[in-house]
Symmetry: C3
Subunit: 203 residues, 3 copies
């Protein structure tokens, strides 16, 4: 119940981030819907394709599609009010990537993949919806350029495998890892921490 | 036989639309071939991947690849004559999306997915070849911006599930749905109907 | 052992080509890592998805991920020295596409696909990592525009099926095909041979 609620709030936050980017590009109604959709389910879809878990999860559970659809309708109707909930949205999104990271790791464990691949799947689940959103909107993905986002997923996901080495219950390791993803993301945004840009010195 | 002919005509129309976009971008021979190819089979490929229907359909049936190849060769040779068949091309394309929508729905029914997912698969089959074409050509997909295209697939596809509730034969429902996709698309183009663009009011 | 060494050298060359493109776009550390990664494993991933060979190969064998990771770290540290090994890199890359072409063909044969589809898979394996790299970097893929690259894979791959008709050992056909891919690529670069660009004459 708790996880499911967070899952839906995360989906809502991802979908709205899609709506906002799509509106900036002045897409039409269908375009906005699709961008919201891929932002919310793109990462999980890529994960499911890579491990061969098909039909992909949103085809088998209408919760996602309905949640996204309702979110887009409300998002368009109340677009001028969105600024007032910006902080809540950021919070949902951040909690969302924490949870999505662990969802991806669990799927990797189920597929009996190595810890490194599980963390990779977690990071893909949490962050590649945004990558596909940016590609469809003809932008270089923002997480490749200037945000600590995937890095939070990678560090938090890796911490999970450290925690499971400790003599604590698995569910605590799970929650601690989510907490770490969220904390890194919040600190990075709060203090404007970014990864270094890489380029060749001239001359 | 009838369906197969339409299927091939639809493939031809999609491939030529790819050739035209690729030539506008002044791609080389290989680029034109690939763009024609993904335009014609991209939607069906994405559908097959999402439901786990692999190897994807064009790998198992050479008809598609041969049709596309011949189309591209003829398209390049007779490029200056293409304008004279523009109306026929538009008609093939329109019939094509009608048929492709129902092909996608059938695959969804075979995979025992819900009606909403079947319509989604139909829409993906009919319209995502063009989306991948536009992404490869570094454009925001045209169907996200200014055309009633996917919308015709969605409405026509949904009508199929309404028709199957009526006491009529399944094949009539099938044909009626194709007819509705085609009609909506034709009317939208004829009368310049577009979905509203969505953006935030300033100030 | 020999094949594995070439495979790793090819992966290194592909990863570095990703690093160079990503740095030109001034991506951050994570962006550079991802671009290097998709350049090196993108083609094989697409191939595995199309034939349903999941989990995709790099999820089951850590060699690829470790190789790419080490390459990126070294590539970033020694970026100003990369120019001195440019010729070696080009050679690795060229040997890499030869080998990757045959790897893809073998996978196609295992999946009992027709020769044409095997050559397609070989070409995808060898050249679509670069296509995904360019899309993520918001460029029209370079191999669609101005390089004999995929063409070398197609011709070399096709030659394999001709050679297997001859009364020679299968392994000679294999090596001869790799040799042909490499030769075509080298000759094309050496003499600046390009495919014709296709566009419509005005007026």
């Amino acid at each position: 119940m708790f996880y499911q609620t967070i899952d839906i709030l995360g989906t809502v936050a991802f979908a709205i981030s899609g709506v906002l980017v799509a509106m900036e590009k002045r897409l039409d109604l269908f375009g906005v819907l699709i961008i919201a959709f891929v932002t919310a389910i793109g990462g999980g879809t890529l994960r499911d394709l890579l491990i061969g878990n098909t039909p992909v999860v949103w085809m088998r559970d209408l919760t996602y599609v309905s949640t996204i659809f309702i979110t887009v309708v409300l998002g368009i109707v109340f677009v001028n009010q969105l600024r007032y909930v910006r902080k809540s949205l950021f919070l949902f999104d951040t909690i969302g990537i924490g949870l999505y990271t662990m969802v991806g790791i669990e799927k990797g464990l189920l597929a009996e993949l190595s810890p490194i691949m599980c963390v990779t799947l977690g990071t893909i689940t949490a962050s590649f919806g945004g990558v596909i959103r940016d590609i469809l909107c003809n932008e270089i993905p923002v997480i490749f350029r200037k945000e600590i986002y995937a890095t939070a997923c990678i560090l938090g996901g890796a911490s999970y495998f450290l925690f499971t080495q400790l003599p604590i219950e698995e569910s605590y390791a799970y929650l601690a890892a989510i907490f770490i993803v969220i904390t890194i993301r919040l600190l990075a945004v709060r203090f404007g921490i970014r990864l270094p840009n890489i380029y060749k010195k001239e001359g």
